[in-house]
Symmetry: D2
Subunit: 347 residues, 4 copies
Amino acid sequence: MIQVGLIGYGYWGPNLVRNFFEAPDCQVAVVSDLRPDRLARAAARYPSIRTTVNHRELIDDPGVDLVVIATPVSTHFDLAMQALRAGKHVLLEKPLAANSEQGEQLIEEAERRGLTLMVDHTFVYTSAVGKIRELVAAGALGDVYYYDSVRVNLGLFQHDVNVIWDLAVHDLAILDYVVDARPIAVSATGISNVPGKPENIAYVTLFFAENVIAHLHLNWLSPVKIRKTLIGGSQKMIVYDDLEATEKVKVYDKGITVTNNLESFYQMLIGYRTGDMWAPNLPASEALQSEVQHLLHCIEHQQKPTTDGEAGLRVVRVLEAASQSMKERGRPVELTGAKGAAVWSRS
Amino acid sequence: MIQVGLIGYGYWGPNLVRNFFEAPDCQVAVVSDLRPDRLARAAARYPSIRTTVNHRELIDDPGVDLVVIATPVSTHFDLAMQALRAGKHVLLEKPLAANSEQGEQLIEEAERRGLTLMVDHTFVYTSAVGKIRELVAAGALGDVYYYDSVRVNLGLFQHDVNVIWDLAVHDLAILDYVVDARPIAVSATGISNVPGKPENIAYVTLFFAENVIAHLHLNWLSPVKIRKTLIGGSQKMIVYDDLEATEKVKVYDKGITVTNNLESFYQMLIGYRTGDMWAPNLPASEALQSEVQHLLHCIEHQQKPTTDGEAGLRVVRVLEAASQSMKERGRPVELTGAKGAAVWSRS
Amino acid sequence: MIQVGLIGYGYWGPNLVRNFFEAPDCQVAVVSDLRPDRLARAAARYPSIRTTVNHRELIDDPGVDLVVIATPVSTHFDLAMQALRAGKHVLLEKPLAANSEQGEQLIEEAERRGLTLMVDHTFVYTSAVGKIRELVAAGALGDVYYYDSVRVNLGLFQHDVNVIWDLAVHDLAILDYVVDARPIAVSATGISNVPGKPENIAYVTLFFAENVIAHLHLNWLSPVKIRKTLIGGSQKMIVYDDLEATEKVKVYDKGITVTNNLESFYQMLIGYRTGDMWAPNLPASEALQSEVQHLLHCIEHQQKPTTDGEAGLRVVRVLEAASQSMKERGRPVELTGAKGAAVWSRS
Amino acid sequence: MIQVGLIGYGYWGPNLVRNFFEAPDCQVAVVSDLRPDRLARAAARYPSIRTTVNHRELIDDPGVDLVVIATPVSTHFDLAMQALRAGKHVLLEKPLAANSEQGEQLIEEAERRGLTLMVDHTFVYTSAVGKIRELVAAGALGDVYYYDSVRVNLGLFQHDVNVIWDLAVHDLAILDYVVDARPIAVSATGISNVPGKPENIAYVTLFFAENVIAHLHLNWLSPVKIRKTLIGGSQKMIVYDDLEATEKVKVYDKGITVTNNLESFYQMLIGYRTGDMWAPNLPASEALQSEVQHLLHCIEHQQKPTTDGEAGLRVVRVLEAASQSMKERGRPVELTGAKGAAVWSRS
């Protein structure tokens, strides 16, 4: 029976507590938050849980096995390091850390101590993204050509991070999971419409070693909510719309056929292919529940979680590079530490 | 009665002929095309029209007042220059020319001879874009924050131009018409998925002197057709979806309110504003008919058309800069010759 | 502080408990259900609540002021009557009762004892339906012409009631609230696709004294979920789509203009009017919370709730008549006891 | 080379002329209309076609083989009878005739003379309806349970026929083509919102011998245009949306599974089945062109067209019965002359 302590009962914390509460083989022992009114809410909802304004209480508690951190990203490193040093497994709200150096240190600390470090890349655990990965891995799309995502709405302006750190993290986590290749360079543009605030609208292009491109559109100031991803391949293409109630993933048997014109050495003929569309049935499970159970399983069996520290670090590296490029109006920034030789194609 | 000669009866030519045919105060006299089967089609449809494989016949015809050119962009400069030198008014299919030098020379030649030079930026003459301009000009949006357009489908691969030259031209023409400001720099990214072919997917960011950004997503290889533009302002926001049958323009009374927190000098409070949505009724007129009548009116009254050579040239300048930036993975390219001091705000 | 006891912790019961739990000025004291596993779930979630398999415990409890009944409709009459006779206020899940005689007796009993009897017509308390009523009442639609609703999905087959009793009750409650007129006759058709089971697809037409018609399409066996209502008026028309995330209510300035042709006595000219569309902003409140607070307010101030026993009875009368008509392939059945003289027009 | 004469160059006539004009193996010789301005329009568009205000000219013309009639339904019988008696093949705009007696006489006359009589049920020749028929015929849906269609918009008010005669004819033609069974009774309701005019909103239920129901919703006074049909079967279900640009037909692997509960003799268990969705690729051909070629083929090879006089008559019989039922508020009207014994199931 794994004992869980959670730090940060704000927006996402209650979801985490609820899912650990409902998971078998674990128990939520303590919740800490600096705000007493948040703790009162947790106590009313879960009388069995102990609450405290001092997070050290749960870090120092020898009964606690796993510390779940759902606080602002600027506090991730410090809190996670305290927990790891106290011998706790750690689940961190996304993104892993405020910069890649911090991410590297957390990974190193967890490895040295043989502890599980996981980042909460929730979308990776949805049935929609799972199905997309399955299709890409099976080669159903042929060679992947592009990944294009729009993630916009009238969203909460963050005070400490720009819109890339807030929203792109989802797409980067999906991208990291769905394809094997790693980006080698990034170009990003964006602006802030509120003087003195971080950028609230951003566009990020990722370049890969192979002939593949990914692009993310992120906006806190859109009149409508859009969560739509196009994935183009040589054989098939996918439209993934997270706002669709049921048909979230649609697979199109569409594309082009390239043939060499025999009569002319120079002329290439490009024809169109338009076939059926297919929307696979997706189980209506809650992603966070799958994620929690995966984490508990990994802790118990000492396995690497799908979204381990390394996955979190790869995402943070792109966030850093994109923010840098955005300051320079799109000047491309190379990504180091990336295993860029890998290719997307699986044919 | 203005006599019209058309060069190029391919994809768009028939639409032009039909609209000049139906317009009052003008007559389509000659159609030329290098392909006899295209001419046969024109003759069968319009027995009153003369056809020829030699475009010089209509340029040398003293009875022809206006030459309409609907041929590949690489031929625009040569054909238009011939027509202008023969004293004809000229309507050029978009884009105006294959580069800005050619565009400048065409403008100069037309001005010297007192002839009308117009580029066929069709979207400018739609009731939807007209309504958007009206709203922006009236200050209904407040300060314009961003313009974001997606124009993708499984489209015809062009052999001689990249997807920016094919598709972005529409958005740049709309942008040029709707707002007063001119872009000062551009960053673009994109790739080609067919070796040896021009880029078939591209992303273009435009920077303006004021705190405004524009972004275009262009793709010939999308499984679904999308024609959607978001325009964000400080007071209101617009969603313009050209594929909607009736409600193409939706105006959202949404946004943010920024107030200074009195208690804290450093903290700014950003609140959300969510109000009604409104879709203005748009007349179901054909844009090309409005455009044709506008051109005939301009010729008769010696007025500058809305989409004159200068408008066409501004678009070509951005196309050039974007193509350049795309080759360098988004490195920003400054736009010269732009009246960048202008601002979008009209409050 | 009103003390609440709930009978029936099945599908809807937990929602009721949660909303009474969160409402000020009341306390959920007891929950009863025949199934111990349901009670265990309630106890785990709300340790402060007492649970029992014997509903008499809460009816006999002098501390309980309000009994909330969320059990199958066949048990409504008996349970509600027990509660009323014990001097409790009663909130009944929809529909009020299994037949109109039972409904009449419950109303009579509640009135004799001065107790509040309310039926849980939840949609009446949504901001969307509230806005529609407001518009109709203000005469914005002009004369109401028709009300057309589609409420279909792959829904739970009921064993004891047909699809009309399960789904039409929502539309009838909305209709009863939105318009003043009462139906004078009903024609219904439908079939059962599972031998021995109640009808799973049904169509119900309501006739009113004035030139108004209402129609409901109800189906448990639809591949897609639809919740769409059209309301046509002489001045404006409404599309109410409950599945839209934000723009649930759209008001169209569309219609016809009827003019007499002066030249011909016999000929009437009907022209079309197509104007703007407008989607009013709707607060994102939970209907059940509004309903609970309304009930508590009515109990405290001894006022009639909006959805009192009479409203529930009017709905039951139509359900009875429709079921009767459906057995006879649409033969119209007159509604007695209806105040049919009222008209929809408010101009 | 079949020579064609057309009577009635109003709304639909130009589409017919265009399609006969483009079809091989036939020639449009004459067009007649009572309105000279309509004839002028035809002459301008097709200088090769002879025009006349006197339809007898084309009926008496021995060179004309086929008379196409696109006039108001009240004139169908008289014009078609004249044409048949003059030995011409006849294509009649839908519906076939103003009543079933007229339809019977036309069929008889055509058969006696060995002439082809066809009714223009255009939707039958669309690739979408063809695909649906193919799926139903192959048993892909299992037993058909229901057919539900909504066909509404702000449409042209007809002066001489009600909305059923104008719009339901499309659905009845599709239904007649897609399924083998014939309706045995009909119940219809509807009202007129313009005093003295035919009903502008109507609901029609068709009953079949087997456990099947069909329902049509028809409305000239809807704020939005809807063309949506649900077809439910025991194995699969179809959503056919004619307004979708590409995915007009969606096939859902959804339904219920009925099993007998072993523990209880009386209780039947109904489970849900939710599988994939599939949208077959549909060729983008024009239905009218397919129809015209089918007609020309039938004339040449003396074959019965798919939409022959009998198909037209079956539709007219339902229109008559529905109009009768509508006058009596839904009282069911039995259909005679129907081969009601047939069943939908093809398993």
